[in-house]
């Protein structure tokens, strides 16, 4: 998928260059500025993720959710999902393995949903763009919604 994005962005860049050299230069300088602007937070976040994922290994997550059940497990799963940042292509096989290991659909749904929608670690970055209130509200609503998704999964799966 990343390859597609490279093809699209490079094609767009060439087209832009063909249309206007000046504007293309401006676009690239803006792209760089936007990138550099978030670099400090970005690098800090990546270090925190590195330490967190080492301390909180997939095996441990599996253990916690496998032993817990009911809403306690759901809330725990939602909290773990909120504070971790795992790429989707790692999270889904992990989730599938957790299901096989005996975790319930509700817990897994809560974990996946918060993993994707709630980002406690990235909240400083989000605040930079949206301000404190909007960032906190969005994450809070997403957390509550994830519990509802878990409930829905419990009913339908």
């Amino acid at each position: 998928m990343t390859e597609i994005f490279y093809v699209v962005s490079i094609s767009a860049l060439l087209l832009s260059f063909y249309k206007s050299k000046e504007k293309t230069k401006k676009a690239l300088s803006k792209a760089w500025k936007a990138f550099e602007n978030i670099m400090p937070q970005f690098l800090s976040i990546i270090i925190i993720i590195g330490v967190m994922l080492t301390v909180l290994s997939p095996a441990q997550i599996s253990n916690l959710l496998g032993n817990e059940s009911g809403w306690g497990g759901v809330i725990l799963a939602a909290l773990i999902g909120s504070v971790t940042l795992i790429p989707g292509f790692v999270a889904f096989p992990l989730a599938a393995a957790l299901l096989k290991g005996g975790a319930g659909y509700m817990q897994i749904a809560a974990f996946i949903s918060t993993l994707m929608m709630v980002g406690i670690i990235t909240i400083p970055l989000e605040i930079k763009y949206f301000g404190k209130k909007a960032a906190i509200l969005r994450n809070l609503f997403a957390f509550i919604f994830s519990l509802m998704v878990a409930f829905g999964m419990g009913v339908f799966m």
Binding site: K30, A31, P40, S44, I47, F92
Partner: protein
């Protein structure tokens, strides 16, 4: 844009402190410290491979799409078109949610409606097409479809509520802030 060294040191000081702490951790507790440094390195490489096209596209978007066009298609009164565009941009995206923040910044700067920007972020976080295919193969189609249906409704509700809870002054502040970002 040229910046002095003190300015750079100031901006990166949190990162540098964390980095030193991580090195310290590697010395005291190598089994955790070294593994986390390794993870950090891998994540950095992943980020550097995913992110450049996003920023190039948003630079081009900023230069080529006029404010008038953005307001017309995604601004106040853009109606269902703005909602669908928000869904489309987010679903066609790649990379983790933090990649969506700068894109959100450009949309805001150009005058997109706040709730449409939140819809874009919601779609970016949960209805990305390649990820859905991946999810279906790992979790089964029933789980994926159920989650997708609930998420589409949820994204709309979260976007609507988040915007409703903000005062006009707070929204203005977000728009003003977006002008400084790129």
């Amino acid at each position: 844009m040229k910046k002095g060294l003190p300015e750079i040191l100031k901006r990166y000081r949190v990162f540098m402190i964390l980095f030193l702490l991580n090195i310290l951790l590697a010395v005291i507790k190598p089994e955790i410290g070294l593994k986390s440094l390794d993870l950090t390195w891998k994540n950095t490489l992943e980020m550097l491979s995913v992110i450049p096209p996003i920023f190039i596209l948003l630079g081009l978007l900023d230069v080529w799409v006029s404010r008038e066009a953005m307001v017309k298609y995604m601004g106040e009164g853009s109606g269902i078109v703005g909602v669908l565009l928000g869904f489309f941009i987010g679903s066609a995206a790649a990379g983790p949610l933090y990649g969506a923040f700068p894109v959100a910044g450009v949309l805001l700067k150009k005058g997109s409606k706040l709730s449409n920007v939140f819809i874009m972020m919601g779609a970016w976080s949960t209805t990305k097409i390649p990820l859905l295919l991946f999810e279906a193969s790992a979790m089964g189609p029933k789980f994926t479809l159920l989650r997708l249906v609930m998420d589409i409704a949820g994204i709309g509700v979260i976007a609507y509520l988040t915007e409703k809870f903000l005062t006009t002054g707070e929204k203005d502040e977000i728009y003003r802030n977006s002008m400084l970002k790129i």
